[in-house]
């Protein structure tokens, strides 16, 4: 049995968890196993039908009011109990901030190794084989997981969703047993950056700026562009972040985030090796730079050699037209 942890943020199931569930479903089909899902928190039962649609045979809902706010040790405690009860062969997480926090703690509690932030999975003689980027994507390593259970976290935005099915499944609600002292660290508040609903790692389109943006005020041009593009987020190169023009949360590259959107738009980014590593797995890369020799053009599907301050206003107009068609 494959068990997939489903993350809930602000009352909603994370899309990337459904991606992990979809991948679990594909592997389960090959292994002749079933794929089940697990939710942890408080008052979550109503979310179960969303999860059936992505192939879960059973949805375990671990309920406790102490778990209404995220706590790594609290969540691990109840996941560990469930794993002991239902013995999954494979446990999958999405490699979100929560997944990357939770999965290794659970792995340690179960005494097993795990593979983080995988971009491919396969079955190999009944075991899970994964590919994961190392050195922020400068190399790729393939591993076979030989532990029991096998635990992996899957990179968001990489695994396709299965076509939703119209299916009922079994909801198994459990009162999770946990005491206050097992909670240890707990979230007391979520502070949201204004206007940044979508993280660069989750966006379908990343509108990114580098040193060529010349100053923090010009990032508004990128925010405007992003505001007309569906499911997009603003990214930045290290030099723009180190200059203090935009918060580090937006940084793409080896000391920032690795992204794989459908479209990566690079404005005034020359393409240092540590930046390219973080975005080279994007489906399409487009660059605007005034230097025709900029390394970013070597990885771009389409590039404009020109002044981005002149190009962006026209681009905004043309994109609006194309989007309204």
């Amino acid at each position: 049995m494959i068990l997939v942890f489903i993350e809930v943020r602000e009352g909603k199931v994370k899309k990337s968890s459904l991606e992990a569930l979809s991948e679990g479903k594909r592997r389960a089909a090959e292994m002749n196993a079933e794929v089940n899902a697990v939710l942890v928190g408080h008052n979550l039962e109503s979310l179960a039908p969303d999860i059936f649609r992505y192939g879960a045979s059973k949805v375990f809902v671990l309920e406790n009011s102490l778990l209404s706010r995220y706590s790594p040790s609290g969540f691990v405690e109840v996941l560990f109990s469930l794993a002991g009860e239902i013995n999954p062969e494979i446990i999958l997480f999405s490699a979100t901030a929560m997944g990357r926090d939770l999965a290794p703690r659970l792995a340690a509690k179960l005494g097993v190794s795990m593979a983080s932030d995988c971009t491919q999975t396969a079955c190999k003689d009944g075991k899970l084989e994964v590919v994961r980027p190392i050195f922020a994507g400068k190399a790729f390593a393939t591993f076979i997981l030989k532990s029991s259970p096998q635990i992996a976290s899957l990179r968001p935005n990489v695994f396709p969703l299965i076509d939703p099915v119209d299916k009922q499944a079994e909801v198994i609600r459990k009162d999770a047993v946990i005491t206050e002292d097992q909670i240890k660290a707990q979230v007391v508040e979520i502070i949201r950056e204004e206007g940044a609903e979508l993280d660069v790692t989750e966006a379908d389109i990343v509108v990114s700026g580098g040193r060529g943006m010349k100053g923090p005020e010009n990032f508004d041009m990128l925010r405007n562009l992003s505001s007309i593009l569906p499911h997009s987020a603003v990214g930045a190169s290290r030099s723009a972040v180190d200059a203090g023009w935009i918060d580090h949360q937006h940084q793409v590259g080896q000391t920032g985030k690795t992204v794989s959107p459908n479209l990566y738009l690079a404005f005034g980014i020359s393409g240092a090796i540590q930046h390219l590593a973080g975005m080279a797995s994007s489906k399409y890369i487009v660059a605007v730079n005034k230097d025709p020799e900029a390394p970013v053009f070597k990885v771009s599907d389409c590039g404009i050699v020109g002044d981005l301050f002149q190009v962006i206003p026209h681009l905004q107009e043309e994109l609006k037209k194309a989007l309204s068609e």
Binding site: R9, Y70, P72, S73, A97, R100, D101, P104, A107, A108, S113, M114, A115, S116, I134, F135, A136, G137, A139, F140, A141, T142, F143, L145, K146, S147, K184, A185, Q186, V187, V188, E189, I190, E193, A196, L198, D199, I205, A233, H248, Q249, Q254, T255, I273, A280, V286, P292, K298, V299, D301, C302, G303, I304, V305, G306, D307, H314, E318, A322, E325
Partner: protein, 260 residues
């Protein structure tokens, strides 16, 4: 305040990574090794907490003797002590192995810790596993990917980066914290610091010294292949006037790539 910081030696971020397909490993020749950047934030934070609240900063690393250079750097930055947990095993990319060694060393040799600081991930293995695993082995709270840290008595508050937001987390000490860029601006070593670091001894503890059974450290991850990423082909370049260029680009995105 008894603070421990855990650091790793990694190739710098400007490095081009070459793979040896015969041995499934990174070719180290020609690489410039540095203190992993996220670890540098962890060391800096430890020093700042010590400066504000007194105490002691001990830096530990798991690895071969080549790591000593990195430990010297941490001493030159201002750490009080450094210890090498000597492990000559080549990189396994298995976080559990290193986490076991660290947790074991703490339990056996350094049981009086208040704060355990790590980089949020090493630059290279990119696992981001060890801090959470060590926290679990020791039964202490963890806050990972931290951009702000405040310690008050036996409790702490940290800002942890999540998708598009910050989680404010409260926790009791002792605790595991992993540092994210933005936590602080690491200092440079001073000449005085470098001179002092030179005089300091770095004790070396082997796995046997720790009483660790190497059978317990066998990796459950089998590395079967390592390769360079597929190379991307350079596409078309538009060199028209801005208006025309923008039009052509959107046409490409809309009609050819079909991403808009």
């Amino acid at each position: 305040m008894n603070i421990f910081v855990f650091v790793k030696r990694v190739p710098d971020t400007e490095s081009k990574i070459r793979i040896s397909p015969e041995t499934n490993s990174v070719i180290e020749e020609g690489l410039n090794f540095v203190l992993s950047p996220y670890d540098e934030y962890a060391v800096e934070e430890a020093l700042r907490i010590r400066e504000a609240k007194e105490g002691k900063v001990t830096v530990l690393s798991v690895g071969s003797e080549e790591v000593l250079v990195i430990l010297k750097k941490c001493l030159a930055m201002g750490a009080d002590e450094a210890v090498l947990l000597k492990d000559d095993t080549p990189e396994t990319y298995d976080g559990l192995r290193t986490a076991k060694i660290i947790a074991y060393a703490l339990k056996e040799k350094f049981p009086e810790y208040n704060l355990l600081l790590f980089g949020k991930q090493s630059m290279g293995a990119d696992n981001a596993q060890i801090p959470a695993m060590v926290a679990e082995f020791l039964g202490v709270p963890q806050v990972n990917v931290v951009t702000k840290l405040e310690i008050e008595g036996n409790n702490g508050t940290a800002h942890r980066e999540i998708e598009g937001a910050i989680e404010k987390v409260s926790f009791p000490l002792p605790a595991v914290i992993s540092a994210q860029k933005g936590l602080n601006e690491p200092r440079y070593e001073t000449l005085k610091g470098i001179m002092m670091a030179k005089r300091k001894q770095i004790p070396v503890l082997s796995l046997e010294d720790l009483g660790l059974n190497t059978e317990d450290l066998v990796s459950q991850l089998e590395l079967t292949r390592m390769e360079s990423p597929p190379t991307r082909e350079a596409g078309k370049i538009i060199e028209d006037e801005p208006k025309e260029a923008a039009k052509k680009l959107v046409e490409f995105l809309h009609k050819e790539a079909k991403v808009i």
